[in-house]
Symmetry: C2
């Protein structure tokens, strides 16, 4: 009964927000999905595709939704989250919940740490995506079987945590609980650094291409998979690197050290060292399919 | 008629040699496929899987085959190639052909530049593969639709070049002609560097894992695709980095420069520079599907 009446408001109708909108409606979690999209081209596309029931202004979405999902780049989300909790203050009896889906968590939880409505916020990070962005990248089933991290849930109202848990159950996500600070360290290692290495690889090869036009005729499957993330969107990644700066810098420094070890071993034609670096790296087999 | 009588001898029954054996026999290019495999476990596996008609000793394979395919790591191939041409010298009337399938070409063509039977050698690089190795990794269709580079073909007997061309037609490979020196530069950019970046990424994250056991619970699809090549085999890659050392070092140096540009821009929280690096890297979209 309760389920049949939930209105979900999604702010930001890109890959993540749009894909959530599709499955939350289709799978019956939401009786109505409202959407907010500040970019007029994306808003028109979302309406045309029919991602949400209605595209509405920000204030209307927050006022009418039971659950508000912030699905914009993290820099904008940090400013938007306290504004939404402010609106909740004026509707206190309504017991609303707001959650975000950003890739960094510490700056968000810090931004509302002392807000009187803090408990209505649940910090989450559904770890799913592709290298594409915008409403046309949204797809059903994007989240199925993937991991979702819920941060600092002890700071949130248990009813809000349960509701968000049901939302992610609907999306078939495996839920992991963690504090925001650990989350940000871990994603620097298993997600953010992969993007930096792909961007740097693309830049390296594109530089060479300026002089040698047909270099890409030879691009192998291995190259394509390694460079794939270099297609990722600047609007999303500029704020991530900024918000998670200290962790990302630490990983980049370790990475540059490892790269230099490789460089030195190859430069000295030290086959034993090259072999031992490769065999150490091969241990990744035990961990990644 | 000629086609029905070709005996192909494949030296090295790993991923590449084994996959060639399967399709050259199935698709009727070879009437018989002989195989040589120095590792006893791999030899037993190849025989059990039935990759070739017979596993035979090296000398017997070279003596009985019309086309010999060298499919061993490039360090061993450089030593083996002149030995095979020596055997050809003693069977001169037989008009045999030898080809290799290694990822670097310059050291091979140099090794036999003055050999009296040089023209019977065709230098090739079929650009196909997976991160797995050994006879159990062999599969039908591995080469279909991929590019194959034929190097310095003007140094080879036209009949040998035609025969190798037919062999790669059978494997449905797109053939590209190039000199060996250009080949080695190009593959450093579109294949070898991808492996170095994946190895370094695996080492970086495995280092962290020593202290934080559950870091990989969070590994995203993006991380998996970026680190996939780090599973690659040391026996294959140690000699590649050695033989293509100068080109690989040059690419690594450019790569470290790009990585440092990223590091500095993030460190200074210079959003404009981070954005312009990402948007420059995004140009890879035009080139890679």
């Amino acid at each position: 009964m309760e389920k049949a009446k939930i209105t979900v408001g999604i702010i930001g109708l890109g890959l993540i927000g749009g894909s959530m909108a599709i499955d939350l409606k289709r799978r019956g979690f939401a009786s109505e999905v409202l959407g907010v999209e500040s970019d007029p081209v994306n808003a028109a596309a979302a309406a045309k595709i029919g991602l949400v029931d209605r595209v509405v202004p920000f204030g209307e979405c927050v006022a009418q939704s039971d659950v508000v999902v912030i699905a914009v780049p993290v820099g904008a989300a940090v400013k938007m989250l306290p504004e939404i909790l402010d609106i909740f203050s004026s509707q206190e009896g309504a017991k609303k919940t707001v959650m975000d889906v950003c890739s960094t968590k510490e700056s968000l939880v810090e931004a509302v740490h002392y807000h009187p409505m803090r408990s209505r916020y649940v910090a989450t990070h559904p770890m799913a995506g592709t290298e594409y962005s915008g409403p046309w990248a949204a797809m059903p089933g994007l989240f199925d079987g993937r991991a979702c991290i819920i941060c600092d849930s002890h700071e949130s109202d248990p009813a809000s945590v349960r509701l968000v848990g049901r939302l992610y159950d609907t999306l078939n996500m495996r839920q992991i609980y963690m504090n925001a600070s650990n989350h940000d360290v871990h994603v620097a290692y298993v997600s953010h650094i992969s993007h930096v290495t792909s961007f740097a690889l693309a830049l390296t090869v594109l530089d060479k291409e300026k002089n040698e036009k047909h270099i890409f005729d030879l691009a192998s499957g291995g190259f394509s998979s390694t460079v794939r993330l270099a297609k990722s969107n600047a609007d999303m990644w500029v704020p991530i690197f900024s918000q998670n700066r200290d962790n990302v810098l630490q990983v980049i420094d370790t990475y540059i050290d490892k790269m230099k070890q490789f460089r030195d071993a190859i430069s000295e034609d030290d086959a034993e060292s090259v072999r031992s670096l490769i065999e150490e790296a091969n241990r990744i087999k035990r961990i990644i399919r």
